[in-house]
């Protein structure tokens, strides 16, 4: 359980998308999130759909995992569609559904908005599916690097993120241990009214916090003993490097962008 959590959604595979520099991926996805809103006709939507599906295919991640990432939002996508279907009043009345008139414009708009939603979720989930959290952390550190000029603690933020990543599984294991210990003393987490269940969590949280603080203190001391004195003058083992592959990807993405602006009306 813990191991699936640390990697989050990351699905290891040997694909070009996995190998892309995380900064390239973040920048492209960030741009995609913006340009999705520029699609305004069937061609431009089709264009973006083709792009998104090809990108997803390139990751070599099994569709099963892709759909798992979409699971929590299916409901929202369908809901958005239905909302538009009943609320929008444009075009001709096609039919009546449950006593409501359904307009042709509503059908089109509902479809567009849910498709946009679907593409957004799909493409953003490609980042976490193909990039390890630590890569994302490294990318954020380098991308935010310019903010150092305005005294934004970039290095500290990245260090905090990587230490959290490091300790999530440890704390998960500990939570499991404590909850078993408390359950063996008769604390019931699973049944009963909500209020009682919330109260049952207290004896779980208190020891967990106590131990987390102790860990933090010891870790800080160990880091100091190992010569840590802030980001100044540090070198890095993990290096990000933009290579030919990344330039090709960025080039292709620019083609997608130009195509989109050509196709939209």
């Amino acid at each position: 359980m813990a191991s699936s959590l640390i990697i989050g959604q990351y699905v290891p595979a040997d694909s070009v998308v996995h190998k892309l520099d995380p900064r390239t991926k973040i920048m492209m996805i960030f741009t995609f999130v913006i340009i999705v809103f520029f699609a305004n006709n069937a061609y431009s939507y089709l264009w973006l759909t083709v792009f998104s599906l090809s990108a997803a295919a390139l990751t070599k991640v099994k569709p099963r995992f892709l759909l798992k990432g979409l699971k929590p939002v299916w409901f929202l996508i369908v809901f958005t569609f239905l909302l538009h279907l009943f609320v929008t009043r444009e075009g001709d009345v096609l039919t009546t559904l449950l006593g409501f008139p359904v307009y042709s414009g509503a059908l089109i708009q509902g479809f567009q908005i849910s498709l946009r939603f679907f593409l957004l979720i799909l493409v953003t989930s490609l980042l976490t599916l193909t990039t390890t959290p630590i890569e994302i952390t490294d990318a954020i550190e380098t991308l935010l690097h310019p903010l150092k000029k305005i005294k934004f603690p970039v290095h500290e933020l990245a260090l905090m993120m990587s230490i959290s990543l490091r300790f999530i599984p440890t704390l998960m294991q500990e939570t499991e241990k404590i909850s078993k210990a408390q359950a063996s003393r008769g604390v019931d987490f699973k049944t009963g009214p909500l209020k009682e269940r919330i109260q049952a969590v207290v004896p779980l949280l208190v020891p967990l916090f106590v131990s987390a603080f102790k860990r933090a203190e010891e870790l800080a001391m160990a880091m100091e003993a190992r010569g840590y004195r802030g980001g100044e003058g540090r070198t890095r083992l993990r290096e990000l490097e933009i290579v030919a592959r990344d330039y090709v990807a960025i080039g292709l993405f620019l083609v997608v962008m130009v195509g989109l602006f050509y196709l939209r009306t």
Binding site: A2, R166, R215, E218, L219, M223, A225, Y228, R234
Partner: protein, 278 residues
């Protein structure tokens, strides 16, 4: 020339003004290439000594010199360049998300070039027999393996002095044996000063000298062989001698030993040659 690498000169320390002294007039020195074990019951001030040695704490009275430098807030970073420390809890000193990243941490802090880093990581993980675990996350390692990674992290910075503060205390017997084996190998391979802190007398067998702490004071300074003879006195300050020493001390009533055996093998050798010597 034998240089004194670590000198404690009349060191006294307390954690706060209103608290009792944790160390009282502690003086000792450690020579070049020496392995010194510090022994003592819980709360006798062992960890405090370790923390004073690399400037995590500073003495209230007296002075500490490490490799010719007095340990003060000004010199502390230079001191830490030379001193590597392994703590008790395997989990709470593992900083990296993988073995490789963790060993790199100390090197990154020292601003060491990436290519040198990769070599040093490789070498130090090989010497603790962990090179097959380069990309393992800490939760996929046993306690003993994590401690070996911690030792590798210390080796990578090529220190002059390594302090092990009860590095085996939270491990199972197999993990302990593993770490002690690693430490013994290290002593043979490199000429590094070693300070190992423990309350397990089994772990001092390989040491050149033992400092026994009691209530913040040095109670005894001796060699392991001599220490094992003092079973009764050690028991009084809450320490238990290993089984080999117990057997030897019981047998002393009926036979003479050439010297106090340190290991089971030494004891057996003396036992089976005993008759032929008579």
């Amino acid at each position: 020339m034998t240089l004194n690498q670590v000198i404690f000169d009349n060191v006294s320390f307390r954690y706060a003004e209103d608290q009792p002294w944790v160390l009282k007039n502690v003086s000792f020195s450690i020579k070049q290439d020496e392995w010194v074990a510090i022994l003592g019951h819980n709360g006798s001030g062992k960890s405090t000594i370790a923390k004073l040695m690399n400037g995590l704490l500073f003495p209230d009275e007296g002075a500490i010199y490490v490799h010719g430098m007095e340990v003060t807030p000004e010199t502390v970073w230079d001191v830490r360049e030379k001193v590597g420390m392994v703590f008790q809890n395997p989990d709470n000193q593992f900083v990296g998300t993988t073995v490789r990243d963790d060993v790199a941490f100390g090197l990154e802090n020292r601003g060491i070039d990436r290519r040198i880093m990769l070599n040093r990581i490789e070498d130090s993980l090989t010497s603790v027999r962990m090179s097959d675990y380069l990309f393992h996350e800490p939760h996929r390692l046993s306690g003993g393996q994590k401690q070996r990674v911690a030792i590798a992290g210390v080796l990578a910075i090529q220190p002059e002095l390594i302090i092990l503060d009860e590095a085996t205390a939270m491990l199972d017997p197999r993990g302990r044996k593993d770490i002690m084996m690693t430490v013994n190998d290290l002593r043979e391979e490199t000429k590094v000063n070693l300070v190992s802190i423990t309350h397990d007398l089994n772990e001092i067998v390989g040491a050149d000298r033992v400092i026994v702490m009691n209530e913040g004071e040095i109670w005894l300074e001796t060699v392991p062989r001599e220490l094992f003879k003092q079973e009764e006195a050690l028991r009084q300050i809450g320490l238990d001698v290993p089984f080999t020493a117990k057997v030897t001390n019981r047998l002393k009533d009926i036979m003479d030993f050439d010297q106090q055996p340190l290991t089971q093998k030494e004891l057996l050798d003396q036992l089976w040659t005993f008759h032929s010597k008579k």
